[in-house]
């Protein structure tokens, strides 16, 4: 899916398919769901009757057959264009669904019954069944590993080719149907009913089958239906007015006026915009459980982000050596490196790295006959006993102080000062002792991701408050929070703290989004208005959230918020554009309607259109072709710029409001020049 990002909006195959769909959607039972298009269909039908009437009775007084026929065709094309917009959005989703479906096709499952392995079809797996997978097998259903460990290729779902490790117990125990086991053997308990697995839901979703109108979409549909109703009244009542004043109006002109005035542009594009929004989320490798979740994301006020992985690059790094008074710096670094010999953690490796930068190499160390002391929860320290009897220990402040105190030594005041300073700067101090005497301190620092400050600045301008969640002590947390530019932080966070924070924010009326992966995140994910679970997370977490991020990328939340905003904005701007269009259409059609009886109305023909007939034709033609012209915008979405709400409104009003007034004046005039060659 990832590779689709740059693909063309209209691949030839999709266009052909969508064209067929556009005709199928003409069925009034389907079209009835869209009140605007339905009225257009009714108008087209009336126009058909009028055209037939004119064809058989040349003295019908309804204008020439050619004129009526053209209006009929243009109306029909308007309908097709609107249907096409929806169809192409759906087709794009369907293309992805098809590629997914291939992976679901009849995978054999090795069902384990009473310790025996039987091969059955994957569709017969029920919730609670246990199956086995070996290297080369495709996982037949969603489940949780209950035994074993395996590397799995999830590219079918995520598009990411690097295999991932899944193992029983802990937060990385879930497997997804359709993925492929590359090594080892696992036993998996089925967690989804047939037809309800992740893959099934994903397919249903992208196909638009389970797409329900969101509350916001419903409200907009009501508004648009209201507009349409006003124009029904305007056009129907015009007939008696004209009768009374002795003005002749032909039916084609009245119907054209009606179809031009009702917001056909947004009416035709509305569902395409909604589908495209979910599609954009999908392209960002986020699966949403409903369209509403995407919209809600656009409204989010508070964003809870884990420090590690989101704000800082995974691990802390050693940044500086502070030898204690009376210890030679070189000797101290030497000791540090020796202590880190057995330390394979990223932190330990970073100490060696820093030592190398200071000109000391592991190779130069004499480690023959030394004994490694591994880290234990009891001593909270690690280190090495060298062959010459020197004991080097490395650990947290508390641990080393205890070692010194046990040996009857004291902890130097000056070192304590250094430790405090490091903590205040957001660093983590590691104290090193040699023969139970403090030799110095290593400073470990979090590395803040490059560019993260700008992203938070962007969020702040959107009005989104960012909250960093970390297990660090408040001092360290505060420092990193300030450095990264987040607005608030939760230090020494336990899962309950997240939950409480979310509740408190929600109580103030705010919408909260968070990302999580572990089972202990599940309650908070469920509580949050937008809960994004990582695909690598546990099944419980994925069930609790309303979105799943396939990339496991913690910064994805930011993208999701923008997609949500884009979706709403596209709806708003196209509505504005559509309604603003009416101004020009009035000026094109209204004078044309009455000009035979009231020649003075020529003064209102400010576009100097060729004749009443060409004026009406160019207005309906403009009305029709503007729909396909705007399809790319509807699919891509209006670009969101974090410049503050008022500035954004000004900008969009200028582009789509003013543009919506001017564009049809220009467009109708141009079409009129063309049409006047024929009429």
């Amino acid at each position: 899916m990832k590779n689709n990002k740059t693909a063309s909006l209209f691949p030839g195959k999709l266009v052909r398919e969508s064209l067929i769909q556009a005709f199928r959607k003409l069925d009034p039972r389907i079209l009835f769901r869209n009140p605007i298009l339905f009225t257009v269909e009714v108008s087209t039908f009336v126009m058909l009757l009028v055209t037939l009437w004119v064809a058989f009775d040349r003295n019908a007084g309804q204008g020439s057959l050619g004129y009526n026929l053209t209006v009929l065709v243009v109306l029909f094309v308007t309908l097709l264009f609107a249907n096409f917009a929806e169809a192409i959005a759906e087709a794009r989703g369907k293309a992805q669904a098809d590629s997914l479906r291939k992976t679901r096709e009849e995978t054999p499952a090795k069902l384990v019954v009473n310790g025996e392995v039987r091969t059955v079809s994957s569709c017969r797996l029920k919730k609670g069944d246990v199956f086995e997978c070996e290297a080369g097998d495709t996982v037949p259903s969603d489940g949780e590993i209950i035994e074993g460990l395996a590397s799995i290729d999830e590219s079918a779902i995520t598009g990411e080719s690097a295999p991932v490790i899944r193992e029983a117990g802990g937060d990385k125990s879930s497997v997804t149907g359709g993925t492929k086991v590359l090594s080892d053997r696992i036993r998996v308990k089925v967690t989804a009913q047939p037809g309800e697995s992740f893959l099934d839901r994903m397919i249903a979703l992208v196909e638009g089958a389970s797409r329900q109108k969101t509350p916001n979409e419903i409200a907009l549909t009501i508004l648009l239906a209201g507009f349409s109703l006003v124009f029904v009244i305007v056009c129907v009542t015009l007939k008696p007015f004209a009768d009374y004043t002795g003005t002749l109006i032909n039916i084609a002109a009245l119907i054209s006026l009606f179809v031009c005035l009702i917001p056909t542009t947004i009416g035709g594009l509305l569902s395409a915009i909604g589908i495209a929004g979910m599609d954009r989320a999908l392209r960002a490798n986020v699966i949403t459980k409903s369209g509403k979740a995407v919209e809600t994301a656009g409204d989010v006020d508070t964003l809870l982000l884990d420090k590690t992985g989101t704000i800082t690059i995974g691990n802390r790094k050693a940044t500086r050596f502070y030898p204690a008074a009376g210890t030679d710096e070189r000797d101290f670094i030497h000791a540090c490196l020796l202590a880190s010999l057995s330390d394979e953690t990223p932190e330990g490796r970073s100490i060696v790295e820093l030592g190398r930068e200071n000109g000391l190499k592991m190779r130069e160390l004499n480690t023959a006959g030394s004994r490694m002391i591994r880290f234990s929860a009891e001593t909270k320290s690690s280190g090495v006993d060298l062959s010459d009897g020197i004991r080097i220990r490395k650990g947290a402040y508390d641990a080393i102080r205890k070692i010194c105190a046990d040996a009857g030594g004291t902890f130097p005041q000056e070192t304590e000062g250094i430790i405090r300073k490091i903590s205040e700067k957001g660093g983590t101090p590691l104290v090193v002792s040699v023969n139970e005497r403090v030799a110095g301190v290593i400073e470990l620092q979090d590395v803040i991701k490059p560019g993260i400050q700008e992203r938070f600045g962007r969020l702040r301008k959107m009005g989104v408050k960012t909250v960093m969640v970390t297990g660090d002590n408040p001092l360290t947390a505060k420092y990193i929070a300030e450095k990264a530019g987040v607005d608030d932080f939760i230090a020494e966070a336990k899962p309950e703290d997240k939950m409480q924070y979310i509740r408190r924010e929600q109580h103030q009326g705010k919408l909260v989004a968070m990302m999580g992966d572990g089972t202990n995140d599940a309650p908070a994910l469920a509580q949050a208005d937008v809960g994004v679970a990582m695909n690598s997370g546990t099944q419980a977490a994925k069930e609790a959230g309303n979105m799943v991020d396939l990339d496991n990328d913690p910064t994805k939340l930011i993208e999701i918020v923008e997609i949500g905003k884009q979706l709403l904005m596209t709806r708003g701007t196209l509505t504005t554009f559509s309604i603003a269009n009416d101004v020009a259409k009035y000026f094109a059609i209204v004078p044309a309607l009455f000009i035979f009886s009231v020649p003075a109305l020529e003064a209102l023909n400010i576009m100097h259109l060729h004749s009443p007939q060409t004026a009406i034709l160019s207005a309906v033609i403009f009305n029709a072709i503007i729909i396909p012209l705007l399809i790319p915008l509807a699919l891509r979405g209006v670009k969101y710029k974090p410049i503050g709400a008022s500035a954004l409104l000004r900008r969009n009003l200028f582009i789509y409001g003013l543009g919506g007034i001017i564009a049809p004046f220009v467009g109708i005039k141009l079409i009129d020049m063309l049409v006047s060659l024929f009429f």
Partner: protein, 565 residues
């Protein structure tokens, strides 16, 4: 500068300048804060006790509306009985007969809904008793009803999350005792000084200088006229309303009366700002309304002062502008200003004949009423504007990428549905009513001849104006229309009821629904509704939705007439 134009500028300056402090005072009255009229409290308490009202009762939006509607139903029966039987009631020195049932229906409804469309003339159609106890009483109570609804709305908008809109009775009583009564007394006093009659004697018999015998109608005029103006009522004491020399004797009374039309609707907007502590919001709304009002005033004044091109063509000088249907003591500019003032509000009193104004003046008058929220009726004017704010908030909220919200409350499908119905109703009743009438007139030339003074475009304008005026609860008319027939009495009667109560019910419901929602604090992503941009957006929404719907009809009416000159 031309002294007529100077008069116009002065009047507008007086309205705007005085509406600000008055607005602050009104906010205090409705908030129940200490104010200069607290000495009325014992009277109010006595009144609550007498009527068995618990002034402490808190009302949710449904209860609030039930009380409002029940009270109005009571007034309807009260008015019907008195009007039909006024011939047998006291204070009838001129011996005027009771009204016919269909006329009484129309009159009663028209005054009950604060419209004051009059299909009768006060001199012959009413007794002094019904002038006071139907007309004047209704003019106080219905104005206060609109104001009370507005006060409930303020309460609902100010609360963070509340189901309480306050007590309808308290708002109603306080609107009368502390706002309408004091102002009416002040205006009435000026009118009496300027010669408006105030007494219970019957017609005055006079012999004119030419020696002709004349009988002049009089009565308690100075009591009725102030509230007619202040309460955006507009139902004249005399048939020709404030163009009558006893109802509006001098240029000074004209200034005072014209001021009285707009002062409360203007003050209400400021009251909103003070009440909600959102003065910027009030300024931006006031700005839009004032702009639209001035646009009308400039247009109309220009056309009226320039005179009629047909008369120019005949070669007759028109140095005072188009004077057909105008009073020489008032002049064309003052009539143009009044025409705009009375139509932006739902007042409907006139000091000249709107039927005789220039086509585009007539169009602006209609447009003002078709939009019906440039200041609008007392209380209800802002409520109509509120409907458009909800629609504008919805569209612009989407445009900035957020679920739309207004004053911290999310606007969702339910509110949208109500707002759309309310916004739809106005063009619906106007256009359908006019279409029905023109359909009948087109098929039956005799009927058209009996109804309309003018054929063709102007005839259409007359019918359009009548329904527009009824739907806007305005009450002025293009008086070329002979409207005292069962068709007009009954059809406009229904339009009146629909377009008074449906919007009030809808708007109060929206406020009630929004008030009970969770309050969302503002953030940088929240759309600010007190900016010039949003004000412009609301203006555009109103113009495109409300005004353009009438464009085809207006094209066939006043615009065609203007272009045919």
């Amino acid at each position: 500068m031309n002294s007529e134009i100077l008069g116009t500028v002065l009047q507008i300056a007086l309205m705007v300048g005085l509406s600000y402090p008055l607005g602050r005072y009104i906010a205090k009255v409705y908030k129940g804060e200490k104010n200069g009229f607290d000495f009325m409290a014992p009277v109010e308490r006595w009144f609550y006790k007498f009527c068995g009202i618990d002034p402490q009762e808190e009302m949710g939006w449904k209860k609030f509306l039930i009380v409002l509607l029940t009270l109005n139903l009571f007034w309807f029966f009260w008015g019907m009985v008195l009007l039909v039987f006024q011939g047998h009631l006291p204070l009838n020195p001129d011996g005027n007969p009771g009204q016919s049932p269909d006329l009484a229906f129309n009159t009663c409804i028209s005054f009950m809904v604060n419209c004051n469309l009059q299909h009768y003339s006060g001199e012959s159609g009413l007794s002094y008793f019904t002038q006071l106890f139907v007309i004047m009483l209704f003019q106080f109570v219905t104005a206060a009803t609109g104001m009370a609804a507005f006060a409930g709305m303020l309460k609902g908008m100010a609360g963070k999350t509340t189901r309480n809109l306050g007590n309808f009775w308290v708002y109603l009583v306080k609107s009368v005792t502390r706002i309408l009564m004091p102002l009416s007394l002040l205006v009435g006093f000026i009118l009496i000084l300027q010669g408006t009659p105030m007494g219970f004697d019957g017609k005055m018999e006079l012999t004119t200088l030419e020696g002709a015998e004349q009988s002049i109608s009089q009565g308690p005029t100075a009591a009725v006229v102030p509230i007619k103006q202040l309460g955006t009522n507009g139902g004249g004491y005399f048939g020709v309303n404030s163009s009558h020399p006893l109802e509006n004797p001098t240029f000074l009374t004209n200034i005072v009366e014209c001021w009285s039309i707009l002062i409360l609707p203007m003050a209400m907007v400021f009251a909103l700002g003070f009440y909600l502590k959102r003065k910027k919001l009030a300024y931006s709304i006031f700005g839009v309304m004032l702009f639209a009002y001035l646009a009308g005033v400039v247009t109309s004044t220009y056309f009226e002062m320039n005179g009629n091109p047909e008369i120019d063509r005949v070669g007759i000088a028109q140095q005072y502008g188009s004077m057909e249907g105008k009073e020489t003591r008032l002049g064309s500019a003052a009539t143009a200003l009044w025409g705009m003032t009375t139509t932006v509000t739902s007042n409907g009193s006139v000091n000249g004949m709107h039927d005789s104004t220039m086509p585009l003046s007539g169009m602006m008058q209609m447009l003002n009423m078709q939009i019906n929220c440039w200041f609008g009726g007392v209380g209800v004017g802002f409520m109509n504007y509120y409907t458009f704010i909800i629609i504008a908030v919805f569209i612009s909220g989407l445009m900035v990428g957020r679920t739309p919200e207004f004053l911290g409350k999310k606007v969702e499908a339910r509110e949208m549905k109500i707002a759309v119905i309310v916004a739809l109703l106005h063009p619906f009743v106007i256009l359908v009513g006019t279409a029905l009438a023109s359909w009948l007139a087109a098929r039956n030339p005799e009927l058209a001849g009996a109804w309309l003074n003018n054929p063709s475009f102007h005839g259409l304008s007359e019918m359009l104006y009548e329904y527009t005026s009824a739907a806007a609860n305005n009450g002025s008319g293009f008086e070329g229309l002979a409207d005292n027939t069962p068709f007009w009495n009954i059809s406009t009667g229904f339009v009146l009821i629909l377009s008074r109560y449906l919007p009030i019910v809808g708007q109060i419901a929206i406020v009630g629904l929004l008030a009970s929602k969770k309050y969302i604090p503002e953030s940088a992503g929240t759309l600010k509704t007190d900016t010039a941009t949003f004000a412009f957006m609301t203006f555009a929404v109103i113009v495109i939705i409300a005004a353009l719907a009438f464009f085809p009809a207006l094209t066939l009416g006043p615009i065609a007439e203007y272009l045919s000159f």
